[in-house]
Symmetry: D2
Subunit: 351 residues, 4 copies
């Protein structure tokens, strides 16, 4: 039984961590950190936790916390962890950071897209990008895991095998992503009011969304070169779920023909057949966000469009689970040698 | 490890049984019965179950099934179980019936409200009404459990302590209930299309809904006399959840005063303090359906309206869990001596 | 062509006034008042108005405004109009107040329920309660119209004929009302975020909602005596619409029998047959909020529950139209002698 | 005052025609055609029309209807009009066809994508594609107008100026479109049930949707050559609205530079500045479906992504209005010389 602390426990991702960890056999939550609600009962902020969580919220004291727990989850705004992290902390505990502070290896890129000065770039190199299906082995020995973003997890896993195998031209990659509203957080903003989101759909952050460089960096590793992608997020009137529809031109093979659907499928199977949490759907079945809701699954599939020479790749996940808290727990399981699916045997809820 | 069969596995309640039983340590599902989808892969009908359930749907052969499994769940339309049940079947297996066939003790009442002839009334007396919090001991020894309706579970548990303790006049009881749309089932009907339900709200079955006599019978036992209540169901644009708002006149005590909120609360605590699945909320907190979504909880609370001499009682549950499949599993746990919450430690999902 | 000003033009009710008045032949909007958005383009706050409204928002200067326009709509928080109204203003213009400041005749009742000191009670007597179907003639000559609340309009019109005709006992009246979320306004509050409201339902303000005394006062006039009702509002995951389900005991006639459905229907017809905006639905049809969305209609109907001796009355309206801006325009039409339905021939939008 | 008949009046598009025509000064609906609901009162199928429409539904007798009315709207399944149209009918009346039967000039293409034999190809050439903003003059003299599809209207108008002006390479065009559920019609299908659509998002018809050839044909005219595009529709949990997000590579100018945002904007203005129903939004504002709901507007805008050399174009419309019934009325207005916006001065409803 290890001890865990959550800083930022009162945001939606923090609350999802609580939900998942309550069902984890090897973890006990010792610290519900929340700058905004110090001394308030956690279950009063999340009434679903009534009689399940008796703790009150504590201040965000990461140095103190590091001495008390085996692992800290930081579900905090960008810049928080970067501003407080020290070697001392990392000596005392392990950290799974759900913010973007340690996801991007190039500090300039981080500072340009996030418009924040990085206060502790010295830890960037050591941080492991926690996309378990791709970096499993590196995660196992890490002190600091940079938990991937919700859009990025979906976007990368949907295209990864085809980029890695050179079946598509990564510079033609266009990612049209759609997200439920919990991705916008629990902050009180007019834009996120029920009446503004419901019965509505829009793109936002067009050509400027911060998940773009993260996708480009990771898929660039797979491609073996720097790449540039188009990424457009959209807001959808639903609580949870991300759907990524991705378009790329197929690369002609040496014999002048294009990859067949069997070859594309083989590529997906090569990387995901043994993965618990990535499901390559049967031919003709498009991923739907509802089919993964509440679970740690990513459902992926593809359609070849022979007329245009493109492949349309699709991926769906629950932004709060595989896109945030679930993946964080999966990383924690790797860090501590627990079964990778411990606490994550969550059957998707439908309807 | 016991074996279970589900007849009607492809309706929403049947699918929720599958979701819950997949997480139950002591049960293995051996039979996915579905008259409409014989020989079709179950996971093609419920893609959330992809790679989790490999079985195909089987015909609804309850006699054969009874020989193979320890418990049968019938998540079937009214009249099905009544039409096929035999002593032979009950000798071979136990049955938790999610339909209304054995909920109402008076056959005439059943036939009048359901407009169906009851084909095997000889089993009605033996059937135990499976509202665990009230009939726990009787359930334990039963062969045939009549699993309560979704509206009824919510309506009864919300008012039960006050009726039982004589604090309200049961004949003044008015139940205004609101349900998510999964309660209407997965049948293809124009009325249940997204565009007809979304952004809409209506009452239906006013003064004629079939859950009325079930509520009256059960609360009548609590009151110690026959009672008549007003019950109005409403359709709400959400997938899951029932909210019951109930009104009744407080009964004057012998000293001429009305029960205080402390006395009302004491009555709730008397019956629910030790119950895992009924949560009496703190003063001033109104139950919300989202706080119990995906879980087996019923949240209840009340407000005294001194101006009118009435108490407003409120209860919320997930119609597919505590209102159907979750309660069915709770009953099964009682039948087989498993911990009552096995498979049901489901933390509500928010948002 | 008259000139109108709107104070509080950037709330949802204010915006709905703009939508309706843009289609009104006899009115020109001269003033888009908004304390929060002074000098900002109105169409940037409500992009639906892009290229339809070129004006910028102006400060809430009612004295100045009164000199420039023939009618002022105040779609402002409680207490605003009470705090600024003067005889001078009323000499210069007419006012339709969408707040509660002049709805309740008894100042103490107002101050008790609203917890605000009334700063200009001297105008309360002269104010006419603008429920057009009931107070049509008084509205015509008024300087100051108190536009009814959304819940109240629905609640009163649904029960009015039966109270007025003495067919029900008003002290048994229980109003269970359900509202879309636009009723909560455009303020940035966590409780009204999409993720908090969507897939959720709850009661709120139980036994304490401010529309209660307004309903009691108006139905009390109809009853010819003071009455007390139970009123419970609920929040529903939809943008617009109020549904009121109302319960009351039928009053025995002198011959000992209860009113028949023909008698009940006759009472509704007596008051509403000639009304443009109240539709008494055909027998067996329950009002649905979607059927009146975007229009000024109130749909009403009833079911007699012979078993309990009660009648269940139901009413549905669009809270922003008949429940706010539409009724305000209807009042304005009466004030200026325009056809009562001018600007209000809005066909409900479905789906 | 002209007379109009609607064949297929009981689908969502037909019902929207009724809603719009009820507010049109120059048209009277004489025929509510519906094969499924003959002799049933129209207002019982669309209760929003209660007391507004007294007619009953009539059989789909187009020959008889053609003698009685000046214009027929066919809001019917593909193949219907193709199967019944005759020269005699076209001599007697004008037709605005909301189906796809006469949209595509090449019969083979029609038959291949629609998998229907075209029964009266002799009228295809004469039919005018009724995208008013582009084919205004040809529509005016037509006997037969092929009203464009919902996705196509949005997709084409969003990209048209840039294709027409040669600013983008049309063969790089990728259209990712999202639609509300009313586009799926009022048929009772499990896939369109509330619980299947709500809280869910998916792509469908990937690489095979029938609107693809229509988009390619029309944008091909603008490009002056045959083009091939990727088009992917998605189902969104909302009643109304289509959002198209479109990606294309900018074409280098002769001087080796790419078009600037001023040049792109100038292209949009060139075609849309004088258009009533196309609104080019201000820089930085992304179209949202809610801002056009209930109206005939299309909102368009764009963002240049300098990193990728692509432009992201966005368009939003109400699929039942500008995407179906509104555009049909706009076409009718052109046919009969009415003001183009008669009956269409519909202010978008928000929220």
């Amino acid at each position: 039984m290890i001890k865990a602390g959550i800083i930022g426990a009162t945001g939606y991702a923090g609350a999802e961590l609580v939900r998942i960890l309550l069902g984890h056999k090897e973890v006990e939550i010792k610290w519900y950190g929340s700058r905004s609600y110090i001394d308030q009962k956690y279950a009063q902020l999340y009434q679903n936790m009534f009689q399940l969580v008796e703790d009150t919220c504590l201040d965000d004291n990461i140095e103190e916390l590091a001495k008390q727990v085996d692992v800290i989850f930081t579900a905090t705004p960008q810049g928080f962890l970067g501003g407080v992290l020290t070697e001392e902390i990392l000596k005392n505990t392990r950290i799974v950071d759900l913010s973007a502070d340690y996801r991007i290896k190039d500090v300039d890129t981080y500072e340009k897209w996030y418009k924040i000065e990085h206060k502790s770039p010295q830890f960037i190199n050591e941080a492991v990008y926690g996309l378990c299906e791709i970096n499993r082995e590196q995660v196992k020995g890490a002190r600091l895991v940079a938990n991937p973003g919700c859009y990025t997890t979906c976007s990368i896993l949907t295209a990864y095998p085809l980029v890695k195998e050179g079946l598509i031209d990564p510079d033609t990659l266009i990612i049209d992503a759609k997200s439920g509203t919990s991705g916008a957080g629990r902050g009180a903003k007019v834009n996120n009011l029920f009446c503004e989101v419901n019965e509505n759909m829009k793109a936002y952050g067009v050509a400027t969304h911060r998940h773009t460089p993260e996708i480009e960096e990771q898929l660039g590793y797979a491609a073996g070169k720097e790449i540039t992608v188009s990424f457009t997020p959209h807001l959808v009137p639903m609580n949870r779920g991300i759907l990524a529809t991705e378009y790329a031109s197929l690369v002609k093979k040496e014999d002048g023909t294009y990859p067949t659907k069997e070859e594309i499928r083989a590529a997906y199977n090569k990387y995901y057949e043994k993965e618990t949490f990535v499901r390559v759907l049967e031919e003709g079945v498009c991923p739907e966000t509802k089919w993964v809701e509440g679970s740690n699954y990513v459902d992926v599939n593809f359609v070849i469009d022979e007329r245009t020479g493109r492949v349309v790749m699709m991926g769906a996940l629950d932004n709060l689970v595989k896109g945030a808290a679930g993946q964080a727990v999966q990383n924690m399981n790797l860090l501590f040698g627990f079964p990778e699916d411990e606490g994550l045997k969550l059957v998707p809820m439908f309807p």
